[in-house]
């Protein structure tokens, strides 16, 4: 089975979207965008609800007609083709299993519509792959959420699509099962080598599974790259806040020292490598991830060459592997700090004076013309 799927995959499963956009009357769901998904990759479209990611996916599937642009799959222009003529299959949100058919017939549906006889062997092999063989004669409503999800994947994969589209496939599962299915899906993708395009609003899910992530916001792709790349080098405040958590400190560029930009945040002097600054502007948001910051009691001395901010602990919460602090800093408002629970300084409690310090190379600079709270989920609409 997996060999057959591999053959299908090597037939060419790259997806190329050129200038594709979608408008509903006055509302633009997707601004014209170009996107190339390399064959055999696990590609995630990540964004909050209403950002246009599902519309983009549906345009690849043919379930939504693009207002402009073209869709190419494996080099073939499929823009004008109806969904049933496209070499793609979809795993729908909440699965969309046919309630009147049993599991076997659900999985066999695609093969039967293309006039295949002898579907029995293939269906049984596919059900074994997702470990549902004994449940072949059950109806969908008799299965658990995780089992239904696996049926949905089997029903799509059995057709050897060039591209598998996944529309929030894990959204309906509880957290533990979701983690398990993430690994499972990743395993299947590696095994069959088919191009996966995965839509999700869960940044952790995208980072766990995808080779490449396109972060979407307001119908546009904000940034595209490997998970680690996006996390370490966000190009916009939206990406910085949506993908993980970021402290963004408003600062002014005051000068240069070698490869570093010298900054002033309400009088406190900080620095950032020029290469890690996504803008030439003089007013920037200096970003640093909470886990990159070291927290120390104010009485401790800090090595030279590190960015330093003094402040007072406002809140601390112990969450097992780490402790999360909120510190009101002198220069940059409230700063979140995640500290591993290795050697805890018992003096660091709410109210204690502390100094925060981090390697300047672990920070990044973003253009200050953007909303500082974009992508936090708390921004003013």
């Amino acid at each position: 089975m997996t060999e057959q799927l591999r053959d299908a995959a090597t037939a060419g499963g790259d997806v190329r979207l050129t200038g594709i956009g979608k408008t509903y009357g006055d509302f633009t769901a997707v601004h014209p965008l170009d996107l190339t998904v390399p064959q055999g990759s696990f590609f995630a479209l990540l964004g909050a609800s209403g950002c246009g990611k599902t519309t983009t996916l549906r345009m690849i599937a043919g379930l939504e007609e693009p207002s402009c642009g073209t869709v190419l799959i494996g080099g073939q222009d499929v823009t004008a083709l109806p969904p049933y003529k496209r070499p793609v299959n979809t795993v729908f949100q909440s699965y969309a299993l046919f309630p009147h058919l049993d599991i076997f017939e659900n999985v066999a549906f695609g093969l039967r519509r293309r006039g295949r006889k002898d579907v029995k062997k293939q269906v049984e092999e596919m059900l074994d792959l997702v470990e549902l063989g004994p449940l072949a004669r059950r109806k969908p409503h008799q299965l658990s959420g995780g089992q239904q999800q696996r049926v949905a994947v089997a029903r799509a994969l059995i057709n050897h699509p060039q591209v598998l589209l996944l529309d929030e496939p894990l959204g309906a599962l509880d957290l533990k099962l979701r983690r398990q299915m993430q690994l499972e899906l990743k395993r299947i993708q590696t095994e069959v080598g088919i191009t996966f395009v995965h839509v999700t609003h869960d940044q952790e899910e995208a980072m766990t599974m995808a080779d490449t992530i396109a972060v979407m916001n307001g119908g546009r792709v904000e940034q595209l790259g490997a998970p680690a790349d996006l996390y370490e080098n966000p190009a916009t405040t939206f990406v910085a806040n949506f993908l993980g958590q970021s402290n963004l400190i408003p600062a002014e560029v005051t000068g240069r020292s070698g490869e570093d930009l010298l900054l002033s945040a309400s009088g406190v002097r900080l620095s950032v490598p020029r290469a890690r600054c996504a803008t030439e502007a003089t007013r920037i948001h200096l970003g640093v991830r909470p886990e990159k910051i070291t927290i120390a009691h104010a009485s401790e001395t800090v090595a030279e060459g590190r960015n330093k901010l003094s402040g007072t602990v406002v809140d601390s919460s112990f969450i097992g592997v780490s402790t999360q602090y909120v510190v009101r800093s002198e220069g940059g408002g409230e700063i979140a700090v995640f500290e591993q629970n290795m050697e805890r300084d018992t003096r660091i409690t709410p109210g204690a004076p502390v100094v925060l310090h981090w390697n300047p190379a672990h920070s990044f600079g973003l253009d200050a013309s953007q909303a500082i709270d974009a992508g936090t989920g708390e921004e003013a609409a």
Binding site: Y84, T90, S94, A96, L97
Partner: protein, 267 residues
């Protein structure tokens, strides 16, 4: 004492069920019992003697089986007509936005809300003014009209509750629009369509008022026959037909349940 109360509390639901069932079934049982009566005089209201005469010659009364056959024919055709037309209307109303949609929705509801006698009289006037000969056709048209509302209501409710993603999934899995309709849409809408059809059959079969206003001199349906006969004395055979209809309906329901259960057990 408290044990008695406890017993009552625990069995109250069953008791209520039995009472409701008795209320519904008792008249049928009386009809059944009196189908074995051999009445003295014209009226079959007093028990006199056990006899199977009515059961052995159910068509022994003049014109009765003719009217029964006419009623069954009309009910069958009206059901088919109303179900096909109603299903199409229901899909159109549930799925598409078009000019006159709101008006159609409101008008479809009217036959259910309006007093039957008003509708019967106005239909009769319409046929008269159009100079259409009263008879089989006028009854059929009238029946299709009022059955239509029930089919539309039943099917529309079903279609509205159907997940549009199921049809998209079918298309995604290489089903052409025609295949999608036959393999996914229709089977999913089937319970609504069946409910509408059964309602239509029952309503058409026992309709009296609308039929009375729109029938010709030779088209006497079964309800009209019973009504006519009741002036002179209802023959025992009417009880036989009533009992047979009741048994058929119960058998149909039980069979439906049984098939449903077996499917569930198999799955």
């Amino acid at each position: 004492m408290s044990r008695v109360f406890k017993w009552i509390r625990e069995h109250l639901a069953v008791l209520a069920g039995i009472l409701a069932l008795a209320y519904l079934v008792l008249p049928n049982l009386v009809v059944f019992a009196f189908s074995f009566n051999k009445p003295v005089g014209k009226f079959n209201y007093e028990w006199s003697q056990f006899s199977t005469d009515a059961w052995t010659s159910p068509c022994g009364v003049a014109d009765m089986c003719g009217s029964l056959s006419l009623s069954l024919q009309i009910a069958l055709l009206a059901t088919i007509g109303a179900t096909v037309l109603g299903t199409m209307v229901a899909f159109a109303l549930a799925r598409y936005r078009f000019r006159g949609r709101a008006a159609t929705t409101a008008l479809i509801f009217l036959p259910m809300a309006m007093p039957e006698v008003v509708m019967a009289a106005s239909l009769g006037t319409l046929f008269l003014n159009m100079r259409i000969q009263f008879g089989f056709l006028t009854i059929l048209i009238a029946h299709i009209m009022f059955c239509l509302s029930f089919v539309v209501t039943a099917v529309k409710a079903r279609v509205m509750s159907m997940d549009p993603r199921l049809e998209q999934a079918a298309q995604d899995l290489y089903a052409t629009p025609a295949q999608t309709f036959l393999r996914v849409t229709l089977p999913l809408a089937a319970p609504g369509i069946a409910a509408g059809a059964l309602l239509s059959f029952a309503l058409s079969f026992d309709d009296f008022i609308i039929t009375q206003f729109n029938s010709g001199p030779t088209t006497v349906t079964f309800p009209m026959f019973v009504w006519g006969a009741s002036q002179r004395g209802i023959p025992v055979q009417v009880n036989v037909i009533g009992t047979a209809m009741f048994i058929a309906a119960v058998a149909l329901t039980v069979a439906g349940q049984w098939i449903g259960n077996r499917r569930k057990a198999q799955a």
